[in-house]
């Protein structure tokens, strides 16, 4: 019972708090019902607010190179997970993402696959209803 009341007190206090940086709806920028995929070379990894960014060079079949910008959650999530050093420039990664609605070369990451087969998924619990970026 004591534990329950401690929990209730914590819940009550956390309800009083507001989200730190509430930003915008994910769907306003990305089509979460669709998926895109590419394999590219990481050219820059930016631990910035409000959302972390990965920049890629993606070689096309015709020999040309496209630049892609992939976004994810806020940097705090990666810091808490001790993940800030797992990405480095020059890595080849397979990227699965929700594509931008405006057709630009941007996307919201779903899963990164490293060359050794490791996967890092950073998305939403319910992929059909992610409400915030």
């Amino acid at each position: 019972m004591k534990k329950m009341f401690a929990l209730l007190a914590i819940v009550a206090l956390s309800l009083a708090a507001r989200p730190a940086v509430a930003h915008h709806a994910l769907q306003a920028e990305f089509d979460t019902a669709k998926r895109g995929e590419f394999t590219g070379t990481l050219t820059k990894f930016a631990m910035i607010n409000p959302h972390v960014r990965w920049f890629f060079d993606v070689k096309k079949a015709d020999g040309t190179t496209e630049q892609w910008e992939i976004t994810g959650a806020g940097p705090q999530a990666l810091r808490q997970n001790g993940m800030t050093r797992i990405f480095s420039v020059g890595q080849t990664l397979k990227v699965s993402y929700a594509p931008a609605r405006d057709g630009s070369h941007t996307g919201r990451v779903v899963t990164f696959t490293f060359q050794d087969g490791r996967t890092v998924t950073m998305y939403h619990e319910d992929p059909n209803n992610p409400n915030d970026l």
Partner: protein, 290 residues
């Protein structure tokens, strides 16, 4: 009759037991309630506001498995039962941001003069275009909310904020507003504090007209005057703010107050907030709900 008596006795016994149980529950709740801790005081007798406020919840951190695979899933706002029943629960039906609805249902909203109603609505509808915070500008007072850490000296209150690594130094030695700084136009204004009983009352003027009071387009003029109040009760801190802006508001607006708990981790410290760079606005197909 006999039957009735037995029933009455049983009912009375049940009621008594539930009272005993309730009493025990209240006792446990009181012991756990951080507001019931003694309020520490400084040598001059005022409540000591010093400490790390809020936080300590944390959690959410997931660790990679033995192969280095990691899955971090964020919990979004679930669909309502009605949406699910109607089969309306697919993505893209709602561009309202998380928590937007509950924040709009606050007990009070600022009453703008009629000539500004259209402007507020335009700012609200085009939040991702106009909202200064969305574009990585400072939140300013009072939108920044309560501090994450306070250091109190007999003459100064040092307020520190996690978001943007911001600090404010509030003189509490009884001095009036600085005649030059109070005419400046800044995000945090010129602030002076004084004790009213056990409440620290901070008077702030000298604002710019760039910051917003809150995210739904609630702008203000550079004649805004904010009264911020901090009250420590045990190991809780109550934060309140009142916004007066006769240029645009018909009456003072009371910002929804917040109560923070003293961080239970004695080793808790502020973490550096990383720089902010807005890169989404140009790709958004709607400018609503910044």
């Amino acid at each position: 009759m006999h039957q009735f008596n037995r029933f009455a006795i049983a009912a009375a016994f049940a009621a008594a037991m539930s009272l005993v149980s309730l009493h025990a529950q209240q006792g446990a709740a009181n012991a756990q309630n951080p507001a019931n801790a003694p309020t520490p005081r400084t040598a001059d007798g005022h409540p000591d506001l010093s400490g790390m406020w809020g936080g300590g919840g944390g959690g959410g951190a997931v660790k990679p498995d033995e192969k280095g695979n990691l899955v971090q899933l964020t919990r979004g706002r679930p669909c309502s039962k009605q949406q699910a029943d109607l089969g309306n629960c697919e993505p893209g039906i709602n561009f309202e941001r998380d928590s937007g609805v509950t924040q709009r249902m606050g007990p009070e909203i600022p009453m703008y003069k009629p000539e500004f109603w259209e402007k507020v609505q335009d700012y609200d509808r085009n939040g991702t275009k106009y909202d200064p915070e969305f574009h990585c500008k400072p939140s300013g007072v009072p939108r920044m909310g309560p501090p994450a850490k306070i250091v109190q000296t007999p003459t100064e209150l040092i307020l520190m904020y996690a978001q943007g690594n911001v600090f404010r130094v509030i003189p509490i030695d009884g001095r009036p507003h600085d005649p030059v700084k109070s005419q400046d136009t800044t995000w945090y204004g010129d602030a002076v504090g004084k004790w009213e009983g056990d409440t620290m009352v901070i008077d702030i003027v000298g604002f710019n007209d760039e910051s917003w009071i809150e995210w739904p387009g609630w702008f203000h003029s550079n004649n805004m005057h904010v009264i911020e109040k901090l009250t420590r009760v045990g190991n809780t801190l109550k934060w309140e703010a009142i916004v007066e802006d006769p240029d645009v508001l018909m009456e003072p607006y009371h910002v929804e107050g917040r109560t923070l708990r003293l961080n239970p981790n004695a080793k808790a410290t502020l973490t550096e907030d990383l720089p902010c760079e807005e890169r989404d606005s140009q790709h958004m197909v709607t400018h609503e709900r910044g």
